[in-house]
Amino acid sequence: MFLYLNPQSGLPIYRQMFQQLRERISSGQLAADAQLPGVRELSTELHINPLTAAKVYQMLEREGLVEFRRGQGTFVTAGRKPLSAAEQQKLIQPAVDQVVSEAIHLGIEESNLQRFIHQAYAHKLS
């Protein structure tokens, strides 16, 4: 599996991996029941510490995105329960805070920011 990792980023490798895998699962690039590579295989491919790969799989499991099947490996969870609104907010809030503080720095009115978000939604979902 190809992930783009930059070890020299201020974002720890495990966060980079987690974000990219979560994006692939939520976008359906990794479909339900798809098998993920084993921790050893993945860490060999990416030239990273296997403990890091194991940690990322555990984080994905905690969010219910993947499941460990005994003796078989790690799979994208089928029939995932949708997250509650509170869980969704908890996950998205840091990104929202960052966008809003960036917008304030740039002097962007709230209504304009809402318009940008609306456009981005339309673009992604089209």
Binding site: P7, Q8, S9, G10, L11, P12, I13, Y14, R40, S43, T44, H47, I48, N49, P50, L51, T52, K55, S101, H105
Partner: protein
């Protein structure tokens, strides 16, 4: 055979050592958990090599205690020594000897010697066994020293600047070998390097030594998650000087302050920012930034 399984592969407590009246280490304390790849960082002269030599049992501390795999390295028996592989900063190899002869010479000293590993690495590093060691490049000599340290199948591998003379491709191969070791219940690896991008890729724990003591020792992920740089700007009241708990370094430029600090929770910035009437933004730091700011504090 391993005789004991302490939680830490290396434990040093209150270790001091001077050379000709100059302190290389003073009250140095270190814990290296078993099974980790521990990246040991410090500026030249910070005490890294002295610490490695003390851990390897080559230098005796003036004060303090050291336990390596549960034993004082200065009291190591031959069997204890076989459990620790050490690649020194400046390895000394017999330059007149042919590569193949050197491996054949070393093997009988180590009961766990791994001939298959030697064959595999010699092939993957493309080293000619029939050449005299002195005829090989610096990089190839370094690779041979690395193979010697690995082939004894140590429980603890001490590597002092292992990759400094390797080119980029050879360094990547070398890192992959280190990572490959971990996948099979491999040794604890204690690694010093100036090449922080390598450390950032493979290490799970980081120690930073400055002025002869260990300033930081923790998982790399925690270090990157919690050591941040904060830029304060738009002051109503300039604080004049900057003392914040947990701050490693504060720099001022005009009407801005840049503070590197331990940030467990972004909310801890709200009170100081309010009292100065300042705004702030938080920046992520990579290992090099963190290292520089901690070493310069």
């Amino acid at each position: 055979m391993p005789t004991s399984f302490p939680e830490f592969a290396i434990e040093a407590d209150g270790v001091s050592r001077s050379f000709d009246g100059t302190a290389a280490l003073s009250n140095f304390t270190l814990r290296v958990p078993r099974g980790t790849i521990y990246g040991f960082l410090g500026r030249n002269g910070a005490g890294k090599t002295t610490a490695l030599k003390i851990i390897a049992g080559l230098v005796k501390p003036d004060r303090g205690t050291v336990r390596v795999l549960g034993t004082d390295p200065f009291e190591f028996t031959t069997e204890d020594r076989q459990r620790v592989g050490y690649l020194s900063e400046k390895q000394i190899l017999p330059v007149g000897m042919k590569v193949g002869r050197l491996f054949a010479f070393c093997a009988p000293f180590y009961p766990a010697w791994d001939h298959a590993l030697v064959d595999r690495l010699v092939a993957s590093f493309r080293i000619d066994r029939c050449k005299r060691i002195g005829a090989l490049s610096q990089g190839a000599q370094r690779q041979i020293a690395f193979i010697l340290a690995l082939a004894q199948r140590p429980e603890l591998l001490l590597l002092d600047e292992p990759a400094s003379t390797l080119d980029v491709v050879a360094r990547r191969e070398f890192l992959d070998e280190i990572l490959g070791l971990l996948r099979q219940d491999g040794p604890t690896v204690f690694l010093s390097s100036h090449i922080l991008s390598d450390i950032e890729r493979v290490a799970d724990h980081i120690g930073i030594v400055a002025d002869g003591t260990l300033k930081i020792s923790e998982p790399l992920d925690r270090l990157k998650d919690t050591v941040k740089r904060v830029r304060f700007y738009d002051f109503n009241r300039d604080p004049g000087s900057f003392a914040m708990p947990g701050a490693f370094r504060a720099q001022r430029s005009g009407r801005e302050w840049l503070v590197t600090l331990r940030l467990e929770d972004p909310a801890q910035l709200d009170a100081p920012a309010r009292s100065w009437g300042a705004r702030h933004e938080i920046q992520d730091l990579n290992l090099e930034d963190i290292f520089v700011d901690i070493s310069r504090q």
